[in-house]
Amino acid sequence: MALLILIGLPFAAVLLLMIARRAGRRVHMLIAGACSAAGLAVLLSQAEPSLSGRTPMIRIPWMPTAGVDISLWLDPLALLFAGLILGIGLLVIVYADGYLGKDEPTARFLSYLMLFQGAMLGIALSGNVVLMLIFWEMTSLASFLLIGFWRTRVEARRGARMALTITGGGGLALVGGLVLLAKVAGSYDLATILSRGGLVQASPLYPVILILILLGAFTKSAQIPFHAWLPRAMAAPTPVSAYLHSATMVKAGVFLLARLWPVLAGTDWWFLTVAPVGLATMIFGAGVALFRHDLKAILAYSTVSQLGLMVMLLGFGTGAAVAAALFHLLNHAAFKAALFMHAGIIEHETGTRDIRRLGRLATIMPLTATLGVLAAAAMAGVPPLGGFISKEMMLEASVRTGSLLVPALATIAATLSAAYALRYAVVLHIGRAPIGRVMGTAPHDPPARLLAPPAILATIALALGLAPMTLAGPLVEAATATATGGARLGLHLALWHGIGPALILSLSAVAAAILLLWRQEALAPLAARLPSFDARRLFDGAMTATVQGARRLSHLIHVASLQRSLAVLFLVALVLGGEAAGRFGFAAGPRATTPASPVAIMVWMLLVVATLAVVAVERHRYLALVFMGVIGLVMALAFLHLSAPDLALTQIAVEVVTILLMLLALHLLPGRPPRLSSLPRRVRDGAIAAAGGIGAGWLAWAVMTRPAREGIARFHWANSHALGGGANVVNVTLVDFRGFDTLGEISVLAIAGLTIFALLEPAAGGIAGRRLREWRSADRFSPDRHPMMFAVATRLLLPLALLVALHLFLRGHDQPGGGFVAALVVSIAILLQYLASGFDWTDARRRIGEHGLIGLGLAIALATGLGALAFGAPFLTSSVGHVHLPLIGAVELTSAMLFDLGVACVVLGSVTMALAQLAHVAQRAARPDGEDPR
């Protein structure tokens, strides 16, 4: 329970901050600070059981079938990391209060920060790899938001994008790695996975898993060659740099390596990938840091270097090295966060971060200078600070690898680190450079809320050196034991270990660093001439290549010509169909055919002639429409003849509506356009079309000459009356047996109607509106807009049509008819009103709009379906009852009829929406209120 509270607190803070975003800055600070402090208190209350081996844990089933649980645990490793997150988080919030300007949106800033805090805690506490992955991605997103916090700055946006691309890409690799790992280990549960190291390392997939997971860890922890994002992340406000990009988030990669150490470490693969990358990063980062001039850049590259150090130590694969890494994790968090805050104070006070313009700060800002020197000394590894101990442990571990190269390189890196750290301490505070005076007032020590957090951290950095065993001993020892999955080492942290190779190396590193610093200015041009490894260019190059590749690919498969795409589509269909015909044969079956009556043959001829006529007159648009109407009528006749009266009714109604729609559209399209395609083109298209036609016809012939298989038709027939309460089996099928399908269908119809509205509603403005107005003014036809005869006739027709529709609707369950047809009849009648009497006249007399109808219809249909649930029956189960109405007689009333009413409403709404919008768009454009405001 405590763990749930722990993880819930930051997210609760996010919610509260969003609710109270209009409240004052104090309130925001109070929310974030209180939640962090409460989290820290909860964590401390759990520290004792965690350290004594009674690991607090909680498991809530989430997707039990997939083996994914919401499981949290707080072993010593998680405790160490969570303590870091919450402790530094609290200090950063206090610092941010002093740092952020008066007009900064503190609610937004703090909610991102708390989101990040929650995500980080999630990584630390997750007991399930899927859960961990979710939090892992969340930290990348929070980091993106925080780096880009000052949205108006180009570098901020660019840095945020780069960080997200690199860490997000690494996150993808990590997803693959962890899922593979879980597959091999047979569980998503972290504790189970950690106990199956042998199984995983014996698997042939082990190298793949390792590389993928390392990609995730290295990108997050800014290891070469993925380090480029970290210096660019310095565009973030300094509290963010202190929190995310030095103390916590970048250590998530280190944490992951420590977390998965029992499963992955100990092999040659591990040593040869992790240790060299860490070592290279350590030297590279330190070397670059020495020659930077921006304070934050120095600190950023030094962070890269120190992260490399921790990664290298974990790569060594020994318990002592892990202990050194974890102890350094603490040290680094303390002094680096302090240094970032220190740099922030200096920028705040002097207005610059350029080390060349700063100096003699010790005399002006004594308190700030003291803590800065202290923290920098810890970074340099000077006794008696904690950094000295962890550096000696690092050198000791590198000596223990048995190789000479490793300690030699490690000493070089330590020298460089000490040099940039001493440069930071000496040049800044004692150096002779003039004081940068950018801001009007003289720089001085800042108020307590800016000064206290780094002071606390610097004190911790000192205390970690003076009393390491009391402060960190048990925690580091226990965390090391969990990380290595072994027994406790009997760790002894102390400043004095006696004279050994590590001490000699450590002290000579500091001595060499002093020499180096003395000659730093002389070395600078030399360093500038070194072949530089420009990760930025690498990144930009990769991004450009990706974008161009994607563009080329989409140009390849997506051509501007719809014709060409369709031709390819048709040809593929032909090839596939031909291939199937080749394999299975298309021979006609044995079923007896039905003789055709002379009338049928005549109607068939009508169809063929009309179809050919449409092709022949394709460019005479009105003429083509007339022939389309003929084809539709023939279809209706065919349905009627072939025992499908429902289809015939629907077809006729739809035909009328379709022709009306096209007529309205034609009114707005150019009259008789020139021919576009050349003769060879038309021949080619004709060949494709003929092949398609013959194939389709042949397929139909092959189907119809085979006997029908006994399908589910018998069930529908047998139960239509008994269960569905209707004799019209087609209608019962629609509204009852296959009601769910119909619900889906009317939803599609509703979406189509709304899409049409969305397409035409804005057409009255902009270019489209101007074009519409031009046409309208050129409209020469029909000066008499609404002929009297037409108007009167359609008004008389309306009630009749409504009556017919009602009749069709009510009898639909037993006789041909039903909601679809009834709605179509009503829409035709209403549309005629629009045509005859004008839009405004009709619109003014309408009580319910199309939107309302569509929504109402869907609601009725859904409610009918849900109503069945209320009676304990499955969704859309229908029930039957009989009602005696006066004059009309017995009417079968089924719940399916209510459903049909919903269908009718949606059809009516969608159809009138399409037609009315189309009829209306030109008129609206002509009106002054349709004017384009531009």
């Binding site: 399209l669 012939w701 189907v703 119809m704 004799a727 397409l759 489209a768």
Partner: protein
């Protein structure tokens, strides 16, 4: 001449005409083509229930010889859906025409040409 042959050949003619029109370079022909193809598809779906003359699927006691109701129900929804699709295509092409001033879909149109 059998009814099956008539229906199959009608499907063939409709598909061929539909495909040809769909390959033209302007929206209106494309819409006509798609409409013809959807007629053919509806007819084909309907024909999978086999052709039965004048025995509509209206239930009555004792009747066992009837048309297959299932393809009919399918085709009924198909007719309405293809109307919705046609309407959407028409409106889409109209809006496109209003915006760019051309009703060509061959990728060659110069903006503003048809205005």
């Amino acid at each position: 001449m059998s009814l099956e042959l008539l229906v199959a050949s009608a499907i063939a003619v409709l598909v061929a005409a539909g495909l040809y029109l769909a390959l033209r370079g302007r929206t209106f022909q494309l819409v006509l083509g798609l409409t013809l193809v959807s007629y053919a598809v509806n007819l084909f779906l309907f024909a999978t229930g086999r052709l039965v003359v004048e025995r509509p699927p209206l239930w009555a006691k004792g009747v066992t010889d009837h048309a297959d109701p299932l393809p009919q129900a399918l085709v009924l929804t198909a007719i309405v859906i293809s109307f919705a699709m046609t309407a959407l295509t028409v409106i889409l092409s109209l809006r496109g025409f209003l915006e760019i001033g051309s009703d060509q879909v061959d990728g060659l149109a110069e903006p503003g040409e048809g205005a």
